[in-house]
Every structure is written in C-alpha cells, then in structure tokens.
C-alpha cells in the first residue's frame, strides 16, 4: 500500500507539462495581438502562475479537495497551507488493495498537478480582453475568480470520494450526478469560456473594433504557443489518469487523434469558406480539438475521438465568426473555441461514452453505445451548471472591479499601446538606427537608480 514510483514519476512529469501550458498559452495569445500589446497579453497569462499558486498554497487546494463541507459544493480548510500534505498519500482503494491502493501518490504531487489546472483556467479568459485590461485589476480578478469560481467548481468536478483520504467525500458533479469529465471540459474550458463571455461584455469593444481588427503580429509565436499547448496537454489529459496506466495511454491516444482530426476539420472548413488553409487556422484547430477531447479522452474509443475532433474543428471554425454578428469583442475567440469546444466535448460524451475502454468509469455508456439518454442528460446538466455559475459570478466580479478600481485602460493608453502605458516597456527593438540606443539614449542609469534608491530610503 505504499507509494507507486512509476505513477508518481508520471504525475510529477505531467504537472511540469501542464505548467508549461500557461506560457504556451501566453505565446498562443501573444502572437495574435498587435506588437504594441504583446507584453500585456503575456503578462496576463504569466501572472496567473504567480497569483493562483499562492492562493492554492494558502487555501485553494483545500477548498477544492478538502473533505466536502456539504452538498458536494466546497471542500473544508483541513489542507490550508499545504504543509499538512507532506508525507501523506492519496489514491483509490479496492478490495484487494485498500486505500490508498496500488497507485498511491504523494498528496503534494497531486496538489501540484491540480494547481496547474487552476492556473491555466483563468489564464484562458484573458484572450477575451486583449489590448485593454488594467494589469492590477486583472490581478484582483484572478484572486476573486479563483476563490469564488474555480476552487468550488474544481471541487464539484475533480474531487472524488475516497481519494484524498480513505473516507473522504468530494463534489456533486463527480460523485452524485456522475457526469463524466476526464480532464476538465466543464471545470476548465466551459468555466473559462463562460467567464470570457462575461468579461468581454463588461470591458466592451476595443477602440476601432471591428472596423480596425488588428492582424496577428507574430504568427510563428501563435504556432509555437499551440505546439507547447499540445505538448503540455499530454500531461493535462493523460496525466489525469493519475497513473502510468493503460487509461493514461488511452487518453494520450485519444488526445492525439482528436487534435489531428480537428486540425484537418478546421483547415478544410477554411479552404471551402475562405479559399486558403491558414497557419492561424491550424493552430486554432489544434487547440479546439484539444479542448473538445479533454473531458472525453478517458471515456471514448478511438472512433469517438475521431468524431469529436472533426466536429470540434469544423464547428469552432464557424463559431469564431459569431462574435462579429453579436458585436462582441471576444478578441481572441475564447468563447468560440473554449466555450464551444468545451460544450462539444462534454456533451458528445453522452453519445460516445464506451465503458469497454474504461471499466473504472462511474458513468454509463453513451447514446451510440446502447446507454440510452441517461449519460447525455448528466453531461448537459453538468455543462449547464458550470456555464451558468461561471457566467453569473464572473459578471458580478467583473462589475465589482469595474465599479471600484476600474477594469479598462484609458482610450489614450489604447492608442499609444498598452505595453507602454501599463508596463513602461516595448516588446521589440530590432535595432532601429543600427542598434537602437544611439537614437534613444538611456538617461544616466546610475543617476536614475541612485535616485530611486534614495526614493526607496525615503
């Protein structure tokens, strides 16, 4: 009943892989904005690593995975501070292998793996408010949203009875409703997508949008980001098996197949509708596929993965056009890809769930596998619950911030560029005037720094 080194190795590696997804997302998003706001975009993502980690250590992990306080709605504070977790194991017991079972992990390894999910989820939202959000207001948003929206929802979806402790009790969606979500279609993607919709409404359109929609300033960065996301997503999905097991291999396979199918689906849609397959489309299709297969990767067979992938690729490629009809400046299509993709994957489980490939599944077979409508119903309830909860609470949080410290930069800041306005930086200097500095002399930095040091003494 002791720690399984192979499984622990895989979960630690997966945690590192998922950590890399947030910088990956930063470049995926950062490449899409104009060159004078790329740094702000990178920062909105990167700062999530810092803010959410601290919350997680203090109370986030505990709220998400502590023993349920009732109704499967929230965890208690037993694990606040995380130090409690040192030396403890977690796992699932079986008759021959009572808790923590044969695949026991250090609680801290599990906590770190799950932390990375908590970090990237709010980061996903940032794409909806590119070029115009105040940095510190976003930091406040991260604190509130993580606490009020993500931690509870993670408890609902990811906290299983009898995992963190022999008789620990978890969240309602996972254990009572028995909706299936292998790696976070609801808690991560629908959750972030619904929040993105709310923030896009609250912050409003960028100056000049849609007449002057900027084009991506660095498409290779977009593809670099998408590639790092794809790479890290293996930790996200296959790591969610929490063991180096056959289920992990299945999740890995389905993730790859669905993503590949989605890329083809998106590109063919582009070819038919716009005449050419684009690089931005390939990157977007990959992310759409990864999003859609996330909840399903451990519960469907390869045919299911193929179907989910193609559908996600085609539908998302069409969905990104809706924002123009709605006049909604969801700048980088978080709704069109993460909300739509998350819904596709979560709901299609109701059709493709196949218990033959995952005997440990708590759910039923899908509609196409003789399971009737039961599972489909559960999936819709879970998706709807998370969507509504996230959208409503994000509206509240967003309006609160807007009303108090303000959420959007000045119009002037938008014109000169948010990087200069919010971060006093310029992303690139490709040697204007053969080296830059000659035309732009730095004030005697010594003096400056001296001053500021004085200043700090004062």
């Amino acid at each position: 009943m002791s720690l399984n080194a192979g499984d622990t190795a895989w979960v630690l590696a997966s945690a590192a892989l998922v950590m890399l997804m947030t910088p990956g997302l930063a470049f995926f998003y950062g490449g899409m904005v104009r060159s004078k706001s790329v740094l702000n975009m990178l920062m909105l993502n990167f700062i999530s690593l810092a803010v959410i980690t601290v919350l997680w250590a203090l109370f986030g992990f505990s709220l998400s995975f502590g023993n349920d306080v009732g109704g499967g709605l929230l965890g208690n504070l037993d694990w606040a501070g995380l130090t409690e977790g040192v030396g403890k194991l977690a796992g699932f017991g079986t008759d021959e292998n009572p808790w923590p079972g044969a695949d026991a992990l250090p609680v801290l390894a599990f906590a770190m793996f799950q932390l990375m999910f908590a970090i990237i989820t709010p980061a996903l939202i940032s794409g909806a408010i590119a070029d115009r959000a105040k940095f510190w207001s976003w930091v406040v948003f991260l604190v509130l949203w993580g606490t009020v929206v993500y931690f509870p929802v993670a408890h609902w979806v990811f906290s299983f009875d009898g995992f963190i402790g022999a008789d620990a009790s978890g969240g309602w969606i996972a254990n009572d409703l028995k909706a299936l979500d292998f790696a976070g279609g609801t808690a991560v993607h629908i959750n972030a997508g619904a929040a993105a919709l709310a923030l896009a409404i609250i912050l409003g359109k960028r100056k000049g949008w849609p007449k002057e929609t900027p084009r991506p300033h660095n498409v290779p960065f977009v593809l670099l980001g998408a590639s790092l996301l794809w790479f890290g997503w293996y930790g996200f999905n296959a790591g969610s098996a929490l063991a180096a097991s056959d289920t992990a291999a299945l999740a890995f396979t389905n993730t790859t197949v669905a993503t590949a199918a989605a890329v083809l689906g998106w590109l063919i849609t582009e070819q038919l509708k716009f005449g050419k397959p684009t690089t931005l489309g390939a990157a977007s299709g990959a992310v759409a596929g990864l999003v859609a297969i996330t909840p399903a990767c451990g519960y469907v067979d390869i045919w299911g993965a193929l179907a989910i992938g193609v559908i996600a690729g085609v539908v998302c490629a069409l969905a990104v056009a809706l924002k123009f009809k709605l006049g909604l400046d969801d700048s980088l299509d978080v709704v069109g890809i993460h909300l739509v993709g998350g819904l596709i994957g979560t709901i299609l489980i109701g059709f493709f769930s196949n218990l033959d490939v995952n005997t440990a599944s708590l759910g039923d077979n899908g509609l196409l596998y003789g399971g009737g409508f039961t599972q489909l119903g559960r999936q819709i309830v879970a998706a709807g619950a998370v969507l509504v909860y996230s959208f409503v609470l994000t509206l509240v949080i967003g309006l609160l911030i807007k009303a108090t410290i303000g959420f959007r930069v000045s119009e002037e800041a938008e014109v000169i560029g948010i990087d200069e306005a919010e971060h006093k930086e310029t992303a690139y200097d490709f040697g204007g005037f053969g080296g830059g500095s000659s035309s732009e002399a730095a004030r005697p930095a010594t003096k400056t720094s001296a001053d500021t040091l004085e200043g700090s003494k004062a």
Partner: protein, 112 residues
C-alpha cells in the same frame, strides 16, 4: 510639378488617404519615420534603469501633384491630419523638374 511632403501622426493616415482621394489624388508613397520636436517622447524602465525614447513614430507622406493642385492637396492633408494636439506634424511643398512613369515613360502630369 510639385512634391507635397507631410509628416503626420500614424493613426491619421487613413483619414488623410481618404481626403486625398477626395481631391483626386490617385497615388502616394508613405514611409515610417521618427519625429523630434515639441511633442516629447516617453521613458521606459528595465530592471530599474530608465530608458528614454526621444523620438516619436510618425508617418511620412509624399505626393507628386500638378502645380495647380498643390494648395488643394496641402489643405486636404492639413485638415485631415489635424487633431489639434502638439505633434500633428508638418506639410511642405517642393518644386519638381520632371516626373516619369517607369512603366510607360510618360512624363509630367501624364505620369501621375
């Protein structure tokens, strides 16, 4: 023939272009330049060291026009480029001896 040169704020280019089409200008050449004048630059901070950018990005516009059109074009540009804030830029006119259209070899007004 005259060459009208204008230094304007980048974001006014669209309006200036439109205004020029209004007065019947069919072509122009633009380029990125850095301006120095009353409008000051800005400072940035990298690891605590201030870095001051003295120049301001501007767009330079060059339009060859028939003598007769010169003033109208200047007017059009000035109107369209004006925001009333410091840094709106300058417009100046210089004499041109001859203009040739490379494609056809046409000269003078026909070359425009």
């Amino acid at each position: 023939m005259k060459l009208v040169t204008a230094i304007i704020k980048p974001f006014t280019l669209d309006d200036v272009k439109a205004a020029l089409e209004q007065v019947g200008v069919l072509g122009m050449t633009v380029s990125e330049v850095q301006g120095y004048g009353r409008q000051k630059g800005h400072t940035e901070v990298y690891r605590g060291a201030e870095y001051s950018v003295d120049f301001v990005p501007k767009v330079k516009l060059e339009v060859l026009v028939d003598d007769t059109l010169g003033d109208k074009v200047v007017e059009a540009v000035v109107e369209a480029a004006r925001t009333g804030k410091i840094g709106d830029g300058k417009v100046w006119v210089t004499p041109v001896d001859t203009v040739v259209r490379v494609r056809t070899g046409e000269r003078g007004t026909d070359a425009l």
